[in-house]
């Protein structure tokens, strides 16, 4: 660790950033300021903008395969123009369809909702809200972004090779992903996928360790752990989950790479592809699923927890009320983080898992519903008798809670192995996880962007566009995913690109068309948000006060456009928790204000 990160609360900004090129004024070259920056705020913005680009790509892929699902018989010549032999005659080939589905999943789960979400907000908020000048190791933090960038380059490259990108689903189950002869996407594309994910794991570990170190060691004076805003607690548990589970994915993928290229048999046994009898014996294809889901399930919470944290913060600020049951919120975050590691096999109820083991996982899985329920009730009570300002950020936070309820409840169906027998791998699962993990976390992310945009860029997003963005996305999300549950109840398997030969699953043609049309509209509105985002960076209304939302947390005590080091003078001292809203008749009391003699206790 370099000396420059050793910061005492009492030191001045000038001392704190005594990096070599920081003598005197903050004159930085373009490269060290915007590209290889070690400033956590800039790195956060880099994660966010890269995440947005990925989200456009991932979202566009979903629109393309929705076209196929909604209009399986129609041809779209424009597709051939863009995708050549993947869409000959304007119809999407099965290989292309599965490549799109796989990349949509990979991109959204890892590159957008992991890197783009916790990468952005952990970087932006941790030092600002705990009261630190920067991360524990700004250099590692910079590396974290650039490893993510390299992972992105490799993943993008895999889209352009002749045999196409990985196409075995984002879960890349072997043997399909291990055998080039079984699928086009399991050729070079799969190797690139593994390399990209390995780089991604490195990025995630570098980031995660930094977040944990910063939160534990670099809190300002008076900022005890129980005075931390819930955002920080959520980001802390997220980082812990990532640090403990990503290495398991890494080892699983490494073994897969060996099976693919070195002739080992970790996952392969008794295989005949076409007429080709493979020599591998003794491996277990199920082993990979255990390793994958040991990451894969915590991953769901890696995506969801930061959104929960931000929603807690935003609801409290805009309801002008303390978050209800801070300790219960904290406890439930902790419970979710622990249980996240103990439920992975609920993805594997129908793999031939020992039924007794299955029943243990049913119990542990449904246990998660208890802390989740606590969180929901606490959010509801936070709104109750508040004085709610319905900014776009508040609306997205309310939307998050609504989606989290809807998607959480369908989790009770799938976590119950008895029902899962029927619903496993059907469209019900697709509807469930898109609502609870995909769209809900996206809502959390949007809420965060609308709320902290003024801190990031010193300007506001256009709120009229924000309201349109919210309402179309909210209505659209329910229109897309709510009726999809019925397809699943009918047993319609997921990842079917054409239902015409099936007698049991071809009764939803009109529904699939509706979903496709709505998803195109929703996608267009997201583009509008992206436009609003970039336009407002340069032309948005300027922020004129340091604390535009009247919030208590420390980031609003920094200058409107904080430099590297965040506070110009000393780092403020903290005297209270972050949620004194509406106390003793005062609208808000910042954390930095000493507790008064006559103040009531809570």
């Amino acid at each position: 660790m370099s000396e420059s990160i050793h910061i005492h609360p009492g030191s001045t900004a000038h001392d704190a950033v005594h990096d070599d090129h920081h003598h005197g004024h903050h004159e930085q070259s373009f490269i060290s300021k915007y590209i290889f920056s070690q400033d956590h705020k800039t790195i956060g913005k880099q994660f966010l903008i890269t995440g947005i680009i990925w989200a456009i790509i991932g979202g566009l892929f979903s629109v393309l395969f929705r076209l196929q699902l909604g209009y399986p018989d129609q041809s779209f010549p424009i597709l051939e123009t863009f995708f050549g032999h993947w869409a000959e005659g304007g119809t999407i080939k099965p290989e292309f369809y599965y490549a799109l589905v796989t990349m949509h999943g990979t991109v959204l789960v890892f590159f957008v909702l992991t890197a783009g979400l916790s990468g952005t907000f952990a970087n932006l908020l941790i030092p600002l809200q705990v009261g630190a000048r920067d991360m524990a190791s700004p250099f590692m933090n910079m590396l974290s972004y650039w490893f993510f960038f390299m992972a992105s380059i490799v993943m993008i490259a895999s889209l352009f090779i002749h045999t196409g990108p990985a196409s075995g689903g984002w879960t890349v189950y072997p043997p399909l992903s291990a055998l080039g002869q079984a699928s086009e996407g399991s050729k070079l594309g799969m190797d690139l996928w593994i390399v990209a994910m390995a780089l991604f794991v490195v990025s995630s570990l570098l980031g995660g360790l930094n977040y944990i170190a910063t939160i534990l060691n670099m809190r300002t004076k008076g900022m005890s752990m129980t005075r931390l805003p819930l955002t920080i607690w959520a980001l802390f548990f997220t980082a812990v989950l990532g640090v403990l589970s990503f290495p398991v994915l890494f080892s699983g993928l490494l073994l897969l790479l060996f099976d693919r290229n070195l002739g080992t048999s970790f996952y392969l046994s008794d295989i005949v592809v076409g007429t080709d009898i493979l020599p591998n014996e003794g491996g277990s294809a199920i082993l990979f699923q255990h390793l994958f889901w040991f990451l894969g399930h915590p991953e769901v919470y890696i995506i969801l927890l930061p959104a929960m944290g931000m929603v807690s913060e935003i609801l409290s600020v805009n309801a002008r009320k303390p978050i209800f049951g801070y300790m219960a919120m904290l406890g439930s975050l902790f419970a979710i983080a622990i249980l996240a590691f103990l439920v992975w096999a609920h993805h594997m109820f129908v793999t031939g898992l020992n039924p007794f083991l299955g029943s243990v996982f049913v119990l542990l899985t449904l246990l998660i519903a208890v802390p989740s329920a606590i969180k929901v009730f606490n959010w509801l009570t936070t709104l109750w008798r508040g004085n709610i300002r319905l900014f776009p950020s508040t609306l997205f936070a309310i939307g998050f809670v609504s989606l989290f309820i809807s998607g959480g409840l369908t989790g009770i169906f799938l976590g119950n192995s008895t029902i899962d027998i029927h619903l496993h791998d059907t469209m019900f699962v697709v509807a469930h996880f898109h609502i609870v993990m995909g769209v809900a976390s996206m809502f959390g992310m949007f809420a965060g962007v609308y709320h902290w945009f003024p801190k990031m860029f010193g300007r506001y997003l256009n709120s009229t566009l924000g309201y349109i963005h919210f309402w179309v996305t909210m209505i659209g999300s329910y229109l897309i995913f709510w009726p999809m549950h019925y397809e699943g109840l009918a047993g319609m398997p997921r990842r079917y690109l054409d239902k015409s030969i099936w007698k049991s699953f071809n009764q939803f043609g009109d529904l699939d068309k509706m979903i496709t049309v709505v998803s195109i509209i929703v996608f267009a509105v997201q583009l509008m948000f992206v436009f609003n985002f970039f336009y407002s960076i340069f032309k948005g209304r300027k922020v004129t006060t340091t604390n535009p939302w009247g919030a208590n947390t420390l980031e609003w005590t920094t200058p409107i456009n904080p430099g590297h080091g965040n506070w110009t003078g000393e780092i403020p001292e903290v005297h209270r928790w972050a949620y004194d809203y509406g106390k003793d008749g005062r609208e808000f009391i910042p954390q930095t204000e000493p507790v008064g003699a006559n103040e009531s206790k809570h």
């Binding site: 424009i78 109750w384 008895t418 309201y467 009918a490 047993g491 436009f531």
Partner: protein, 350 residues
Amino acid sequence: MQTFFIVAILALGFLITFQIAKASEYVAVLRGEEKAKKQTNKVNAFLLLLFLIFGLIGVYYCNERLKGRILGDPASDHGVLIDRMLYITIAVTFVVFVITQVALFWFSYKYQQSDDRKAYYYPHNNKLELIWTVIPAIVLTVLVGFGIFYWFKITGKPPRNAMQVEIVGSQFKWEFRYPGKDSILGKKYYKKITGDNPLGQIWEDPANHDDIYVSGDPMHLIVNRPVQLVIGAKDVIHDVGLAHFRMKMDAVPGTPTTMWFTPTKTTAQMIKETGKSDFVYEISCDQMCGSGHTRMRGEIIVESQEEFDVWMAQQTPKYFAVFPDKNPNKPKTDTTGAATPAATTATGQQ
């Protein structure tokens, strides 16, 4: 050309929206920001209320429209249990869903910002929190209890009189094998797989000699007779999905799996009940298995014991197809002389 117009219209709509949005910001500044903020707050609060009302109506409408399209009554004994569990869960979760969503949107509407109201400082209440920890815990215990009870029934040992049928998936088809008169599926080894011996049966095992191999035709099952499926895969992971029986199990290369159930309705009965003359039980592959995943389809016919016996009588064991001279029903020539070369060919193909 059509695409061009769509893109043009989208772009135009976008431009207009943006201009309005920008203008509204200026108008807000002109009219006084506070006033404009109050106005939008009211509008959005009202929209949240509308969303709740129309959302609940939409949930009802969606159910009315689509409930007839899910699969109807289950056609197996396990299916009845699974559906019962499903409906118990729907009932419980629907109550929670309505209560929490109504509370969420109603509070957001009711407690919208107003100058007359001060937010109520209410940081915690241990009793309340205890209540809503304990109640969900109890409800979930009940659901877990039911779930595990049914789960063990479904995944427990099959009854003694269960017949066995093997089902093997490979890109992108299903193959079946019946154990024949001895009710034992003969041993197999994947390296024995050839064009003549698609499942890799080991001919030295006498239990293989009467095994019936079926491919391209539907699987036949007997109504009200428990059946245990012995499930395997040759190349990648597949999944035997039987939507009407509500059953599902992965087919994993190298790791055989099983599942059992009792079909309770014949195909003929289902044709009558559903009113669809082309009704057929389908086997769907539910685990992504490559480019042909979508068309990996099999069929099952459920029939009476008599019909099944008639069908079975028409089948000849694969063993006799490979070694025609061992077939007692075929005109015999010189048994020993002809069998030897055939056997050598079979071993030679390993």
